[in-house]
Symmetry: C2
Subunit: 333 residues, 2 copies
Amino acid sequence: MIQPILLTGDRTTGPLHLGHYAGSLRSRLDLLDSHETYLLLADAQALTDNAHDPEKVRRNVIEVALDYLAVGIDPTKSTICLQSHLPALAELSMLYLNFVSVARLERNPTIKTEIAARGFGRDIPAGFLCYPAAQAADITAFKATVVPVGEDQAPLIEQTNEIARRINAVAGRDVLPEARAIIPRSGRLPGVDGRAKMSKSGGNAIPLSATPDQISAAVRAMFTDPAHLRVEDPGRVEGNVVFTYLDAFDPDTQTLEELKARYRHGGLGDGKIKKRLDEILQALVAPIRNRRAEFAQEPDFVLDVIRVGTERARVVTEATKKEVVDGLGLFAL
Amino acid sequence: MIQPILLTGDRTTGPLHLGHYAGSLRSRLDLLDSHETYLLLADAQALTDNAHDPEKVRRNVIEVALDYLAVGIDPTKSTICLQSHLPALAELSMLYLNFVSVARLERNPTIKTEIAARGFGRDIPAGFLCYPAAQAADITAFKATVVPVGEDQAPLIEQTNEIARRINAVAGRDVLPEARAIIPRSGRLPGVDGRAKMSKSGGNAIPLSATPDQISAAVRAMFTDPAHLRVEDPGRVEGNVVFTYLDAFDPDTQTLEELKARYRHGGLGDGKIKKRLDEILQALVAPIRNRRAEFAQEPDFVLDVIRVGTERARVVTEATKKEVVDGLGLFAL
C-alpha cells in the first residue's frame, strides 16, 4: 500500500528537549507506521541565522540524530537525512527563489515574527529571509503531502503550496503535489520559568538527556501561581507551568482533572503537584536518556543511519529535481 | 606555468550581438592564451528574471554556445560550461546568502539600476535580488581572480569579495581568493538607434549571425547627427552612432581621426561614413556568420563541447565547495 509522504525535521542548533517531544517528536512516532517518513537534520537551515557559528551547527547534527533514535524513531521505518548533503535541495531552492517575490517573503507572518524575535532589524541575512523558499524545496523535493508543524509555522506551508502551484502552472501539469500542515494537539510547551518559549539558550528547557537531578531541579524551579501562597488558598491552573506540563504528559487525565479542581478550590499544595509531575517526567525521560546513552556509545552506527538515510534521500530528491527541471523545460545535458 | 583564472559568461536569454563582441567577446579572445578561462552559459541566472519563460532560456543555451564558437573561442583552450548543471554553484549560493544581509543586497548599485530598468517595483523576484550572491558563488567556485565585466557590473565584484572575506574570516584562513574586475577599454556600444543599450528585444542590435542585408539595413538606419542636413554642414561626432561604431571596430585609427576632422568641419556626408562602417562590419561579421552556420550543422559537436566543459567545471566547483564546507567546519558525511 502506498503511504502518504511525511516530511519533518529539526534545525541542528542544539539537542532536543521536552518541548520538541510534546510538540512534534511524540506525534511523529504515532505517524511512523502509517506514513513514509523523512526526517531532515536541517543544518543548512540552521546556518541561516548561525553563519557566525557553523561549529555549533555541525556539532548538533549528531545530537539531534541521537535524540531521534533515543525517543524511538526507528531508522528502518523512516529516513533520517542530512540537509546540507542533498544538493538537489539547494538547486530547487535557487530555482524557487525566482517564483516568489521579495515582498511576498517579507509579508510572511512566520518570517516577520522570527525576524523580530531575533532582533535582526535591517541586517537580516538574505538566507534567513529566503528560507521559506528553501523549506518549499525541502517539502516538495520529497513530494511530502503531510508536514507536522507548530501553529506559527503554518504560513510556511501556504508559501510552499504557492510556489508549487506556480511551478505547475509554468510546467502546464502537476509536477509537484500540494502539502498540508498537521498542527499537533498540544500547543507549544512553555519554559520552566513560564516564558512562552522553551529553549536551550534560554536556560529554561529540560533536555531529553536530562539527569534525574536536573529534572527534579527544573520541576522545583517551575513557575506556578504566585498568588497561591498557602496550601489552603485557591490557586490558578491557567498559566501555571506545572499544570501545563501535566496536561502535556500526565496519562491519567481523570485524576489530573480532579487535582485541578482541588487546586482551584484550595487545599492542594504546589509540592504535591510538583511531586506528581516529577514522577511522570522521570518515568518519561529515563528510557529516552538510557537509549540515548547507549546510542552515544555507537557513533559509527549513528553515522551509518545518517549516511544510509541521506543516500536514500538523495535518490528521491534528485528524481524530483529532474522532474521540475524537465517540467519547466530547462536545458538537459 | 600557472595562469590566472578568468571567469566570464553570458545569460542565455538571446543570441549575442555586436555589443557583446565589442564589450567582452573580443577581449576574451585576447585573454584566452594567458588565462585559464571558464565561460559560463548562465541559464540559472537568466531565470532570475525569466521564470515565466524558461523555454527562451533553454533555447538560447545552444545559441550562445554557437556564438562563442563562431567568434573563435577555442574549446580546447577554455571551458564552456552550463550553470544549471553545476550543483555546487547552487549549494555555494545558498551558503553565501547567509553571509550577506538583505539591506546590503538592496544597496547594491547594479541591482538598484537593474531593478529600476526592469520595472519590477515591489515585485522583485527573490532570485533576482539574490543574484549577487549567486554570482559570488560562480566566481569563487572557479577561484577566478580575473572577471571581465562592464563598468556597471563592477559593484558585483566588490560584493563577491565581501562574501569571500567573510567566509575566510569564519574559516580562519584564506579559503577563497579575491577577484578583480577587468573593465573593457571600449564602453558599452549603443543600439543602432542611438539608445544607450543594444538589445535584441529592443530591436536595435546587430546579431553576430546578421546577414549582409541585415547589416546594411542596420547601418543605413543608424542615428548620426540630426543637425547635419547637408554634406557641407559641420557635423557632430560625439553621440553619432556611426562614429561610435567606427571607434569600436575601425582598425585604421589614423584614417578614422582624419574622417572625424572632416566631418566636424563640414564636407563629409553621412553616406560616406556609413559606407565605410558597412564594409568594416561586413568584413568582421562574415567569418563569424560562416563559422556559426558551420557549427550549427554539427549540433552533436556543440553539445559535446558543453558536456565536456561542464564535466570539467563540475570537478573544479565540487572541489571548491568541499573546501568551503571544510573551512567553515560543517558536518562531513
